[in-house]
Symmetry: C2
Subunit: 109 residues, 2 copies
DNA sequence: ACCGGTACCTAGTTCTACTATGTAGTGGTA
DNA sequence: TACCACTACATAGTAGAACTAGGTACCGGT
């Protein structure tokens, strides 16, 4: 992963994962695959699991263990009310930053 | 500063400062003021100075000391060729991330 | 003599992504 | 049987960047 991207993902990756969970529960391995399909090809698997532990401890998601046909049991994450609230704040923060940056880019700065 | 914003600024603040320096040299105190005017009201002064040290050590800016009428001498930073290259890469990284996020938001995810 | 504004600097803390590695279950195949 | 690939989760240690919380210094006005 490029260093710039690594740094830029700090703070946004969590929002991205919360967004992925909107309307659709998912488990860690699946989320990693989804992220890679969306272009984040170099996301480290360990990064995703650590993030999931974090958002679970923050109480943003509910967790359920389900057996898998193909390996160890999956931990399925569902966005809860607090998670939705956090995601909302994330979009607000993102919008603010995004607008400032587009402004700067427009100014040719 | 909100925690979300603090994390999200990681990686982007450097780009923002490089962008501010495009076409106009500036010194630290001035950059801090500029950032606050642009809405980053809670940027810590120390953060800016640390960042300036970093981009100087990375060779992205040239530095010149100029006397001030109002206080200690100013350290004026000018974007150099390498800095412009870095800024370019920053915009590329930003564009990628920005597009992915807008996509996610559009999908209502 | 003091204070506010200008101007710069830094040691230590916190948070997040990465590196590197380990553990397990399942199915296929040599 | 032994091995390997894929699925699936987990974590200890590292690096990098912004913040906290100070400090130094120069100038003008009261």
């Amino acid at each position: 992963m490029g260093k710039q991207m690594t740094e830029m993902l700090k703070g946004t990756l969590e929002g991205i994962v919360l967004a992925l969970l909107t309307g659709k529960a998912a488990y860690g391995y699946e989320i990693t695959t989804l992220l890679r399909e969306q272009g984040f090809t170099e996301i480290a698997e360990g990064t995703v699991y650590a993030l999931l532990v974090r958002i679970e401890q923050k109480g943003l998601v509910d967790v359920e263990k389900r057996p898998s046909e193909k390996g160890p049991p999956r931990k399925v994450y569902t966005l809860n009310t607090q998670g939705e609230k956090e995601l909302n704040e994330f979009w607000n923060t993102w919008s603010f930053l995004s607008e400032r940056l587009e402004q700067l880019r427009k100014e040719g700065k």
